[in-house]
């Protein structure tokens, strides 16, 4: 329990650090581009919205930095992330909550599949050195060196097209209304296949390799020799003894590299014009929609922290040594 509380405190601290970072970054923007944008929409915005943007970007020069910081927090607690310029006059929070499920569905699910698939193949590669999975390693190294988005471009070029089963862009058939019905769901699935495959292919090799190396390392441990000496079946030694222990560092590795992976996978959305956070971030960057960028960064960070916490809980369940008696 103590371990879990420690972790939660750490994530709270990290969230605070990320939010504080998010507070300072816009204050570095030179030449008040926000002010310029504000004047463009002058008259169309409510005074509340203007006030909130002033707080977000520190345009109110009369206030002390500390006062600005406090106001910023108060505003965050109300869930107010300002107004988006690209989706004017929608608030940022609304734009993000439309895109979030898409990303969770695509990036979240594929990352989990990739982890399990890669770990499974890694177990095979590490247990049977020199088998066909080992032969897969050079190919996967090459694939993991390719930026995800470029692999996406290639996938579209080779597999998608007007006559192909795979649509080349979007999250669902234009004309359909997002709903949980028999028209929308198959279409959404069909649209997610190619991006998902892209993410899977480029991210799976990292898991294969790290699990393989952990298996090789664990195979030399004494308790593996003991397990063999006990005459247990090969399957049991491989899974219950070797893989079970090799999994531990891989799970903590999963938690730690989530930040890396999510960053890369988000960009696949750009290539496929997939209506998730990554594509939204791209549009925000292109349009210099600072409030939206800030909001997306915050949401991505918080999501990664939550995912980290879940991975920590999994680790807690897997390793008895972190559980304290009583």
């Amino acid at each position: 329990m103590k371990y879990l509380i420690q972790r939660i405190l750490f994530y709270v601290f990290t969230a605070w650090a990320a939010i504080t970072l998010n507070f300072f970054i816009p204050r570095m923007i030179p030449g008040d581009p926000v002010k310029a944008l504000l004047s463009r929409f002058q008259g169309q915005m409510s005074s509340d919205a203007i006030e909130s943007l002033y707080i977000l970007f520190g345009l109110d020069k009369d206030k002390s930095l500390w006062q600005q910081y406090l106001d910023y927090w108060v505003q965050l607690f109300h869930g107010d992330l300002g107004l988006s310029f690209t989706a004017f006059p929608s608030p940022v929070s609304e734009v993000i909550s439309d895109a979030l499920p898409w990303t969770l569905g695509l990036v979240g699910v594929t990352t989990i599949i990739s982890f399990f698939l890669g770990t499974g193949l890694g177990v095979l590669a590490g247990w049977r050195r020199g088998s066909w999975v080992d032969g897969l390693l050079p190919a996967t190294t090459f694939l993991s060196s390719v930026p995800y988005f470029w692999l996406g471009l290639l996938a579209i070029f080779l597999l998608a097209g007007p006559d192909s089963f795979f649509p080349s862009s979007g999250g669902y058939e234009p004309g359909l209304v997002p709903a949980w019905d028999q028209y929308f769901i198959p279409s959404a699935l069909q649209h997610s296949l190619l991006p998902a495959l892209t993410i899977l292919i480029s991210s799976v090799s990292g898991w294969i390799l790290s699990m393989r190396n952990m298996m090789v390392t664990v195979s030399a441990e004494d308790y593996i020799t003991v397990a063999h000496a006990k005459g247990l079946s090969d399957r049991r030694v491989a899974l219950s003894y070797a893989a079970r222990n090799a999994l531990l560092p891989n799970v903590s590795g999963f938690a730690l590299s989530l930040g890396f992976i999510v960053g890369g996978t988000l960009l696949v959305e750009i290539v496929f014009s997939y209506p998730g956070l990554g594509f939204l971030l791209f549009r925000a960057v292109t349009a210099k929609d600072y409030p939206l960028m800030q909001g997306i960064f915050l949401v991505i960070t918080i999501s990664v922290l939550v995912a980290n916490l879940i991975a920590d809980i999994a680790y807690l369940l897997l390793d008895p040594r972190t559980r304290k008696e009583g």
């Binding site: 195979s219 030399a220 441990e221 004494d222 308790y223 020799t225 003991v226 397990a227 063999h228 000496a229 006990k230 005459g231 247990l232 079946s233 090969d234 049991r236 219950s240 003894y241 079970r244 222990n245 531990l248 897997l318 390793d319 008895p320 040594r321 008696e325």
Partner: protein
Amino acid sequence: MTGDPILEIKNLNVDYGLGDQAVHAVRDVNLTLHRGEVLGLAGESGSGKSTLAYGLTRLLAPPGVISGGEVIYHSPDHGTYDVLGLDDKGLRDFRWAETAIVFQGAMNSLNPVHKISTQLTDVLEAHEPKMSAHARNARAREMLKLVGIAADRMDAYPHQLSGGMRQRVMIGMALILQPQVVIMDEPTTALDVVMQRQILGQLIELRERLGFSVIFITHDLSLLVEFSDRIAIMYGGRIVEEAPAGALYKDSLHPYSAGLLGSFPALRGPRRELTGIPGSPPDLKGMPTGCSFHPRCPKVFDPCADNIPVLGPPSTPDGSTRTVACWLHPVVTA
């Protein structure tokens, strides 16, 4: 106390690596373990004693290979067979049920993520599939009691036990299938002296009750003198001397045995001067010609550098019960 042979090692050869690059770690070892006997195996690190133990159970990790020899096991129930000729399934069935091992790493021998009970019962599950879960648990409890651990530690994880307790668990685990042979590879080196004696004493007592044979491997000759019936000394991958424990202690024939005996204080018996063995153990890759001990031997003479001495009975009064490989004691050819 000793009876018929239970395990006969015949010209066992173990290499690391293949072909020309092979390093010969165990060479032409002949050794017989009798029913109910404690056979001690001593030597410096790198002498091949652990390799021998792992080799005869075929537990050596790559690049270890067995390049020749036989390990004949006389099963009380299933007749006589060569362990090295078994297929994978046969080997799995043989392991633990006939020959169990207590390893030197008390700390790392237990799987850290499973409870003690799981690790005690999975071996029953593998070897006696017909046993009910309840009976397996009862048996595991019984074994813990046998080695002096309270049954409520069944649900403990390895990290919750002390080093001594873990090694007791390993001993209990080794006896759970009532094997004929127990190999102990430096079973107590990681423990303090008091714990060492306590555990070994307990083991000897258990042996008297259960009647298994022990191969006891250690670099600590004083422990062997105290606890074993016969002692074999290894050097450079070969057995250089084998004799009843008392005979070896009183009157060692091979200069290397004498050197080993002289390098630590005796626990019992008359005081004697401590000497060491000059030089260092041979590099397995560049083994000296002839008797591999000759570069360090204080009594080296003409034939030693070129001719490998054969292990055989010497022409001493008790020559019939012991063997030695040394040119100082030429083998009596009958």
